[in-house]
């Protein structure tokens, strides 16, 4: 799950670096903006059948928070 999530996350944000840490604040990435959010929504829906509403998404700070939320909601 973790590898699949990180691959999806990096692809959605077009991050080319190989290493990202679960402790990273994802909104601090230079690649993060409202358009990459759309890519992330599509990617999480496609690969994990997960949708995270804004009100919950706003509480997530780190890459690890996002991974935990996806694991909690994933049905596939």
């Amino acid at each position: 799950m973790k590898e699949k999530f990180l691959a999806a996350f990096k692809e959605a944000l077009l991050i080319e670096e190989t290493e990202i840490s679960l402790d990273d604040i994802f909104r601090d990435y230079a690649e993060w903006d409202s358009l990459s959010r759309l890519s992330l929504i599509a990617s999480l829906d496609e690969q994990f059948n997960v949708q995270i509403e804004d009100s919950d998404f706003e509480q997530l700070k780190t890459v690890g928070d996002l991974l935990n939320e996806v694991e909690k909601r994933a049905t596939v």
């Binding site: 409202s34 358009l35 759309l38 599509a42 496609e46 509403e53 804004d54």
Partner: protein, 352 residues
Amino acid sequence: MALLKFNNVGIVGMAACVPSNVINNYEYTQVFDAATAKEITDKIGIKQRRFALPGVTSSDLCFHAAEKLIHDLQVDKEDIDLLVFVSQTPDYRMPATSVLLQHRLGLTHNTMAFDISLGCSAYVYALSIVYSLMERSGFKVALLLDGETRSRVYSAQDRKTAFLFGDGGTATIIQKGEQYKDSYFSLNSDGSKEDLIKIKAGGYRYPSTPETLQEKVVDEYGNIRSEEHGVMEGADVFNFVLREIPPDIKRLEHFSGITLAEIDLFLFHQANDYMNSYLAKKLKLPIEKVPSSIAQFGNTSSVSIPLTIVTQLQHKLNTEQRVMLCGFGVGMSWATAFLVFDNCYISDLVEI
């Protein structure tokens, strides 16, 4: 459950009118720089839009579309006895714009005329209402007018919405006839999500005041708007569409007994190309069966489905085509229909 079936009612012809004033999104740089404009335009796939010039309203666009269609089809205006106007950018708060259009088009006083105030789902909703009235009564010819000037609703200084919206007006003529095959509709609403797309001020819950007109920075990105401007929470709208639209289409498949494999054309509300492309992929639809006008005209709210038909399918609806229409947005409100078009006349696009 709002699942409806009609028979012996169908679309005779359609027309559309757009402003001749073309906005090129790559050059839409009065507020944002060219790099930002390019990044947003490439992502959302909206290259151009049409903006109505000051003084031109959605009813003007509909009027010209209607006159063209009535002329082309040689419809006797005396025979039009139902006029429905769909818009959330009407001429006035009262009277209803449909009634003004009855007079302006020279229709008789025996015309039933009323407005429908819904957004991106409205064309499908309005068709279901017109079909229902036509099927169960003595109406002869129905004229469904759907127009929007959404370019005026959103702040040009809010990058979330500044590059999305455009203007247009359409006309659809609907009649009874034994040649028309069965049509199916699914209609839905979720008012708990009222804040996802909203203009807060200017109604009676939150009237206009000098404060509501004040433009201010509203987020960490520096976007600027007033409470009189439209707000759109794009990410949650996308989540909503992914959650609600595929099940609604499944529901209509089940209700109608028609499978998606039997559908020739899939017409979605033109919100943005990124979302629509993903939706088509999720539903495993062949992209050549999903016409799009988003690059040319942007998001025109309820106008986007009929505008796509007029501009992309002009010569395709002469022969029988089974078509899905699916509109979704502000409300939230969403609707899906399976219709059969056959020998449907499409006028040349009108520009004013």
